[in-house]
Symmetry: C2
Subunit: 291 residues, 2 copies
Amino acid sequence: LIMLGFDVLYHNMKHGQISTKELADFVRERATIEEAYSRSMTKLAKSASNYSQLGTFAPVWDVFKTSTEKLANCHLDLVRKLQELIKEVQKYGEEQVKSHKKTKEEVAGTLEAVQTIQSITQALQKSKESYNAKCVEQERLKKEGATQREIEKAAVKSKKATDTYKLYVEKYALAKADFEQKMTETAQKFQDIEETHLIHIKEIIGSLSNAIKEIHLQIGQVHEEFINNMANTTVESLIQKFAESKGTGKERPGKMINSARKHFKISHIVTNIFALKFIFCIFSRDGVSPC
Amino acid sequence: LIMLGFDVLYHNMKHGQISTKELADFVRERATIEEAYSRSMTKLAKSASNYSQLGTFAPVWDVFKTSTEKLANCHLDLVRKLQELIKEVQKYGEEQVKSHKKTKEEVAGTLEAVQTIQSITQALQKSKESYNAKCVEQERLKKEGATQREIEKAAVKSKKATDTYKLYVEKYALAKADFEQKMTETAQKFQDIEETHLIHIKEIIGSLSNAIKEIHLQIGQVHEEFINNMANTTVESLIQKFAESKGTGKERPGKMINSARKHFKISHIVTNIFALKFIFCIFSRDGVSPC
């Protein structure tokens, strides 16, 4: 167990509250970034759907659009998770303020003990000085061969100063013991507060990591899906789709059919370009006018 | 093999060029989004490093800062990869324009064949009408019992019209055969262009997928690293760091040592708070003043 200084830990409670507020700020800023990214992705998906719907490539834009929309949604999910987390942090911040208030009341006794030992220290200092002065005075009178009566008077004063000094040394020892005991308890209390704070805030950071990790996996799935969809969008299938959409397909160009129709006004036989050969056969067979 | 209409494919070359341009636009917009995201992440990392450096939580902000900076760099790497890809798409776009220009020259013959068959179709139409008219005229004279001379004159005219009609039917058949052959070749050419275009553009999309996938893996590693760093940043280590930074540690509060030093002016024995006991022992042991 590490003992932390009383004042240091007393003021450190404030830093605990600041760290909670700053964590909320950090998560909020991250949420704002993710929201902007999600909005941009939605915009990008719209661009994809606004691109040319003509030509063989057109269906590929649907693959891009779907994938980009899903990416936008992944990041929007993260925003929601982060907003829930911010609420959690704020709720903890309020509990933290309450518990700090309670603690400050509990450690009031220790502050008193500090003040007590400070005042006793001053008294001890003064009593020592007076004790020293009286000793010096007693010695001086002895050396100067003062009267027995004068020396006894000085001895009495010296004895009194010594007793006073001894008294304050005892008082000091008691105050010190009380201070040390109270301070040890308080330091322990402060350290428990720090440990509880760090454990709680590390749990919140754990939730943050999990949220980010979860969304990261979702994004990975969107990428895999895109790669598969692109693999399934074969060149052959794109040509096929295009041919069908243009109503061409395996027949000879429609314009020929239409001109044939217009020309021979016998639509029932002009179902395809080869129908033209009929007429020619008539002439070539009997070599004379059919009329 | 699917045959696509001549006009449809002729104009579809333009759509091929549009799709190339649009793909470049799409990748460019994505790059812009990633760049903005990276910038925001760098800003967020700065916020983390600007948060309070006091209190036990302070070292955790370094973990956030490092991880957020690395995230910013991942997305910046993606921006670079996307910009390389845009260059690649633009380079292909230029090649595409060249090859389309070449193709339009190659299919000029087919356009002529189309014009030829259209003009012959008109001539055939006219010759048929004149042939019908002459037949009807010949029949009418027969019914009305016209003179042999009149009927023979009509027969000659009818024969002439029949020959002209047959001539144009033959001409039409030849033109049609030429047209069909040229058109088949051209349709094949156009289809080859489409297939080559789609294969190339799908390769580019493949590079895009790979770039995104690669960065996604890097981001995953940054997350793992963050989780590990947080796990290594134990509550104990944070308390320890804080205690050391505040110069407190395992001793009793320094203020007590200092006040003791100030008081007894015998620093060599007042190495810790218990040194105070010395003086008191002196008095209690010999019960008299040491002077």
